[in-house]
């Protein structure tokens, strides 16, 4: 689909504007011209979309097509591949090409409004720019222009000014070719042709914002940014998106200390030129009114009061010392540098291995898996996904949980890669990847993975049963999502499958900081750089770099055990950063632990129930206010600079170092740069890795009720998506998915009851097993974990009232 040919040694020689050059065979003339420094004007052309030749702006003269004969008329350079000996004359040297281009530009402008002064695109508009460079100064058109009523919402977020549209079809082609969401289409005909939606089916695509970015005019705008700024007033800073583990390059456009918008960066190895709408629109969380701006300590009257940084550091240090044994819980959203600080803080300041970044359901099996199969490994890249013959997904719904993996797999699937998903049902995302479902009830993932090795036939009734067996060999890639931790034996089975077949294995977490936290040892069994806690040599190595006597030997508690130990009083103090109790395996238990803890230090961006319970609260900087590094699911470090320099907005590591200094155990760094150099100094562990404590899949348990399958939708109630109503309105409405038989029995509205409560939702039939129900994890109430039950557990279903 891409129009940029793969690297090739097969070169052809062409002459462009008199300059001879060698370019890869098959390259389009428009790109070959770029190689000799000639920019041919264009609108419909986009290097990641299939050529279409619609706008005709890029016409050039071809006096010799390479066969000694020329084309009698100018040719569109965006659809014409080079040929050996071809001679191309662009507007730079050919009056014919120049006139042809000026003629097209004049046609484009006759129906384009002259509203550049009020148009969001003004100043960064390809039409405006190229009209200046390749158009005539004055229009000869004196007639009436095509007009439409002003903009229409094609989704809650995306607006369309039809009269500005030049019908290049980049947006519709993106939606069809890249995202697989053709909810916008060209409608009508001729001069009245326009981009449109079907009135009852808005443009709700997780990737809709990309159409705004690639629109070469101001026809598509977002409710979020429309009329907010002029491009020439904006300062741009490159960054990395903080919403998932994909590491998408973004560009943050800001003005006077405020982010005005975010755009996709161009990184061919990672996100190409696309990002999810969450990455594009999800930045208002940092400026919500509940943002913390100063430290607070708990006063004698029990209320939180503002405090100076130095006082807060002292109070925190004192409190932690007094609390006895303390632990660290950190969410997965911190940078690798911050995670390094948490990891070191636990070991050096608190003297414990009780540290865990997993503020979500986890397992000991996963703890072991991360140490044996994940840390320090970079075996799969985005490019590998494209090259793989088969990609197996287990416990991972890429469209919701890792948008760039989804786009890359969708692209791969059009070129022959087969996607196989071990999942409860064939999601829309899987369908868009032409994927094959291995229908699997929650808990049965291990068996399903084992089934793949034996080349077993797909289970009866699966949507693509005809395709027979799933053969996994060394050309395959297995992607396991973090949710697999909730399915006993599944991670072990995935590791075994990879070992047996030679297939490459990668773990895909949901949060931007997860992989960095693994690498920096925010785990009870790992020190930074993959050093196993249990390995004395590794401990000595880390202690030596840190210049400390020694490091705690006792294996640490994982997050669940920390919660339990706080409740039982075995642990007294807690340093917690970026944890939402409702994300954890047992929200009620986590809340109880916070209340039971004798001393809690919270590092948070915004006021939360954790900060309300804490004894000392430190405000931390959002990603925009600090430099840092996110490590992608591939293990690729993605460093980014601070967008803003705000002296009072401090990264977690600065706060932890302040407390540590007060405790008399300095971390040895105060800045991101210092932390980075210490991380580099430490380097990766070159000793033996921990072996996997494989877990066998348990025998099937209860068959009462339905097994609960769940994951988080891309657009949901997550707190980092707060602040943009239009964005949230583009999310998918929460529904419970049931097998057709169950749906027929209890639909269309169902009440599900688990051990933590009941929820009533509209239901939809899907190709699930009869014994399974799926609900979105964080799209209603306080989420599934708080309001219903744990993933994989049993729930009952009843006909819901329609109220």
């Amino acid at each position: 689909m891409s129009t940029t040919p793969e690297k090739t040694d097969d070169l052809v020689t062409v002459t462009i504007d008199g300059i001879q050059t060698s370019v890869p065979k098959g390259m389009l003339v428009i790109r070959a011209a770029e190689q000799v420094g000639v920019q041919i004007p264009r609108f419909c052309d986009h290097p990641l979309l299939a050529p279409v030749g619609a706008c005709r702006q890029c016409l050039v003269d071809i006096p010799d097509a390479g066969n000694g004969r020329g084309f009698p008329k100018p040719q569109a350079s965006c659809t014409l591949p080079v040929a050996e000996g071809m001679v191309v004359n662009t507007q730079a040297t050919s009056p014919v090409a120049d006139k042809a281009q000026q003629g097209i530009m004049e046609f484009l402008l006759i129906n384009h409004p002259l509203d550049c002064p009020v148009c969001d695109k003004g100043g960064e508009c390809p039409l405006q720019n190229q009209a200046m460079s390749n158009g005539r100064g004055e229009s000869r058109f004196t007639g009436y222009k095509r007009t439409y009523p002003k903009p229409i919402n094609i989704s809650a977020q995306v607006l369309l000014d039809r009269e500005r549209c030049i019908l290049c079809a980049r947006c519709t082609r993106f939606s069809e070719q890249i995202a697989g969401d053709p909810f916008i289409a060209l409608i009508e005909r001729g001069a009245l042709q326009q981009v449109g939606i079907y009135e009852r089916e808005p443009f709700e695509s997780y990737f809709s914002g990309n159409t705004i970015q690639i629109c070469p005019v101001g026809a598509l705008t977002s409710a979020d940014y429309r009329f907010r700024s002029r491009p020439f007033d904006l300062v741009s800073t490159p960054s990395v998106a903080e919403h998932d583990a994909c590491g998408s390059a973004i560009r943050v456009d800001h003005r006077r200390g405020k982010v005005m918008r975010r755009l996709a960066g161009n990184d061919p190895e990672v996100n190409e030129e696309w990002i999810t709408d969450k990455d594009r629109f999800g930045f208002h969380y940092a400026t919500e009114p509940d943002r913390l701006t100063y430290p607070q300590v708990r006063d004698e009257d029990g209320s939180l009061r503002p405090a100076s940084w130095t006082e807060a550091f002292a109070v925190a240090a004192r409190g932690l010392r007094a609390a006895g044994s303390s632990a660290v819980l950190t969410g997965g959203r911190v940078t690798a540098e911050d995670a390094f600080a948490y990891s070191k803080f636990a070991r050096v300041a608190l003297g414990t291995n009780d540290v865990d970044f997993r503020s979500r359901p986890l397992s000991a099996e996963e703890t072991s898996f991360l140490a044996s199969e994940v840390v320090l490994r970079s075996t799969v890249t985005y490019a590998d996904l494209e090259a793989a013959k088969t990609v197996v997904l287990a416990g991972l719904e890429p469209e919701d949980e890792a948008g760039m993996i989804f786009l890359r797999l969708r692209k791969a699937s059009t070129k022959g890669t087969r996607v196989v998903s071990i999942a409860p049902y064939a999601s829309r995302g899987l369908t868009k990847m032409s994927g094959q479902l291995v229908r699997t009830a929650p808990g049965a993932e291990a068996a399903a993975l084992e089934g793949l090795t034996s080349h077993a036939a797909l289970r009866d009734g699966s949507s693509l049963a005809s395709s027979g067996t799933v053969e996994i060999d060394a050309t395959a890639v297995i992607l396991v999502g973090e949710r697999l931790a909730t399915s006993p034996g599944a991670l072990s089975a995935a590791a075994a499958l990879a070992a047996r077949t030679g297939a490459r294995l990668a773990w895909v977490p949901r949060r931007a900081g997860d992989r960095g936290a693994v690498e920096t040892g925010c785990l009870p069994n790992l020190l930074p750089g993959g050093r196993p806690v249990a390995d004395p040599a590794a401990r000595v190595d880390a202690a030596a770099t840190w210049g400390v006597e020694g490091l705690p030997e006792a294996p640490g508690r994982d997050a669940d055990a920390i919660v339990a130990a706080l409740r039982s009083g075995e642990l007294g103090g807690l340093v917690v950063g970026g944890v939402d109790p409702d994300d954890t395996a047992d929200p009620a238990a986590t809340r109880a632990a916070l209340e039971a803890a004798s001393f809690v230090v919270a590092l948070e961006l915004r006021e939360t129930e954790v900060t309300r319970l804490a004894d000392v609260v430190f405000p931390v900087a959002p990603a925009s206010d600090k430099a840092g590094t996110f490590v992608t699911w591939e293990g690729r470090p993605r460093p980014f600079p601070a967008v803003f320099a705000k002296p009072t907005s401090l990264p977690d590591l600065r706060i932890l170092s302040g407390i540590a200094e007060e405790m008399g155990s300095p971390l040895g760094f105060r800045t991101v740069e210092e932390a980075r150099s210490q991380m580099e100094e430490m380097g990766p562990w070159d000793g033996e890795r921990a072996a996997l404590d494989a877990v066998a899949a348990p025998a099937a348990g209860s068959t009462e009720g339905l097994a609960l399958a769940t994951w988080k939708l891309l657009v949901d109630n997550g707190s980092m998506q707060d602040g943009d109503k239009a964005y949230r309105a583009t999310g998918r409405a929460p529904v419970a998915r049931l097998s057709r038989a169950t749906y027929d029995a209890v639909g269309p509205t169902v009440t599900l009851t688990g051990d933590r409560g009941s929820v009533t939702l509209p239901a939809e039939p899907a190709d699930l097993d009869d014994g399974v129900v799926w609900v979105p994890a964080n799209s209603f109430g306080n989420g599934v974990l708080a309001d219903l039950a744990s993933p994989g557990s049993r729930v009952t279903v009843a006909k819901g009232s329609d109220s």
């Binding site: 097509a65 004969r69 449109g196 009135e199 089916e201």
Partner: protein, 253 residues
């Protein structure tokens, strides 16, 4: 309002005629018009669902082709050709007269729901100009008077016959035929109208015929290479496009 099970079945039947079901979309939309009287949201959604495409994609198709109507069409769709030749020969005058007579504008329907008037493009009956179409049946060699008479007959329920076809059926019935469900009227009407036969008549009169088959001529081969064929072919576009065959497809290499 949703489509009946029977209609769903027929829509599926149409899609099944083709190696790829989406090919059925044009006739499926004709069927939607025959049961719904226009392209309705329900019809669009049904087609989208049956073909596994989005409703936006169906809309894109439904709004591209002029025979698909978004507003209800009357029992009789009356199209007056106002492309150049028919317009000059009287089509403009006929269309103006019918507008006045019916009190409707272009693409509008009379209040009684009987007649929808539209000016249409060339309907491939130029030798019968001026031409009017009633539910896509030919009404040849019209004058304002004959056209008005036909309209009046349609409105009063009198039987109207095409000059080169059967009695006129309703628009919805016609749409059903276009959807590929024949109505058994194929045998009505003449083989050809008089203008279609005028050359043949002269030939018969004068005893002109094509040569007998045994008469031999030289090789008729006119072009030995593609390039030569292209040089001979009649449009510059064909020329430039076909020349690319050399470099692109290599279809004869």
């Amino acid at each position: 309002m949703t489509l009946s099970t029977e209609t769903y079945g027929e829509l599926q039947e149409i899609a099944a005629r083709y190696p790829e079901p989406r090919s059925g979309l044009l006739p499926m939309l004709h069927l939607v018009q025959s049961v719904e009287g226009r392209i309705t949201p329900e019809g669009i959604e049904a087609c989208a669902e049956l073909l596994g495409i989005t409703a936006a994609e169906v809309s894109g198709v439904a709004t591209f082709y002029t025979m698909y109507k978004r507003r209800p069409v009357g029992d009789y769709h009356v199209g007056v050709c106002t492309n150049t030749l028919c317009a000059v020969m009287g089509g403009d005058a006929i269309f103006e007269r019918l507008k006045d007579h019916l009190g409707v504008g272009n693409d509008e329907t009379t209040e009684d729901g009987k007649i929808t008037l539209e000016h249409v493009e060339c309907n491939a009956a130029c030798d019968y100009a001026p031409v009017m179409m009633v539910n896509w049946e030919f009404m040849d060699n019209m004058t304002p008077e004959t056209a008005m008479q036909i309209i009046d007959d349609l409105r009063t329920g009198k039987e109207v016959r095409s000059t080169r076809g059967p009695r006129v059926v309703t628009w919805r019935e016609a749409e059903r035929v276009l959807a590929g469900f024949p109505d058994d009227l194929a045998d009505e009407g003449p083989s050809a109208g008089p203008a279609s036969l005028v050359g043949l008549g002269i030939a018969r009169e004068r005893g002109w015929t094509a040569p007998a088959s045994e008469q031999s001529g030289g090789s008729g081969r006119t072009a030995d290479t593609k390039e030569e064929a292209v040089e001979q072919a009649d449009t510059s576009r064909a020329e430039s496009e076909t020349k690319q065959v050399d470099d692109g497809t290599g279809s004869d290499k």
